[in-house]
């Protein structure tokens, strides 16, 4: 089996996270078996602002527009969204 090193996911940020990171979307290469928690840890190394993703404040995650958990595995071409707890209504 050959690892598919060209696999990527789209990562989106909303609200406070979007403003804090200064980006609303980016494309990230993933290894097979990568989980949400792995992706967060990788993103957190991009710079000081990015440590917010693994800090004390809660970060929610959705995969392909459905809520997911830190242990959920990613698949190529998934849309991963990170955002603060929701505050609509």
């Amino acid at each position: 089996m050959t690892a598919d090193t060209s696999a990527t996911v789209t990562v989106r940020f909303f609200a406070r996270l979007r403003e804090h990171l200064g980006t609303d979307s980016l494309t990230v290469a993933i290894q097979p078996q990568t989980t949400v928690a792995d992706l967060l840890a990788t993103l957190a190394t991009r710079g000081e602002a990015w440590q917010e993703l693994t800090g004390d404040r809660p970060v929610m995650v959705a995969i392909n527009q459905a809520m997911a958990k830190p242990g959920t595995r990613l698949n190529p071409d998934d849309e991963i969204a990170f955002f603060p707890p929701v505050t609509g209504g």
Binding site: F14, Q65, A66, P84, V86, T87, G88, G89
Partner: protein, 152 residues
């Protein structure tokens, strides 16, 4: 029916559509949320509302479907505005029609409570002190949890 839009909505029009859903409808409950002059800050002048297009609609449609399993729901309509809103503006409308008044009230309140903790909207308060992303409130989580405990 779930609509996410920047423009204002007309309660009378929403009510008319609910009422047109059939002669067996005995009860229509509605809820409308408005921009208040206080929140986390005390001199709120408006709100900015951001959402996750697509996911928002799916989540709310799921809440309406769940309400339909738990109560008699003949029709339900949800409208949520996004973008910049001024003091007193309408933010959200939830309307449910049912054969029974208890079901209309319960389904309307359930959809509204669950929307607040599960639909991907984020609210930024605008004030003369500056802007401020609103934090989720414990009371909203507890309100939504109540519907789990009373689950059949």
């Amino acid at each position: 029916m779930v609509i996410i839009q920047q423009q204002d909505f007309d309660l009378a029009e929403e009510y008319r559509k609910l009422r047109d859903s059939g002669d067996s409808t005995g009860a229509i409950a509605t809820f409308t949320g408005l921009v208040r002059d206080y929140g986390d800050l005390n001199d709120v002048t408006g709100l900015f509302l951001e959402h996750y297009p697509g996911m928002t609609e799916h989540v709310i449609e799921g809440l309406i479907a769940e309400a339909g399993k738990r109560w008699d729901v003949r029709a339900a309509r949800v409208i949520h505005r996004v973008g910049t809103l001024a003091l007193g503006d309408q933010i959200v409308f939830v309307g449910v029609c049912s054969a029974h008044r208890g079901d209309a009230f319960a389904a309307c309140q359930f959809i509204m409570d669950a929307l607040k903790t599960s639909a991907p909207f984020w609210k930024k308060e605008l004030s003369r002190q500056g802007d401020h992303w609103v934090e989720q409130k414990d009371s909203d989580r507890e309100q939504a949890e109540q519907w789990r405990e009373s689950s059949d």
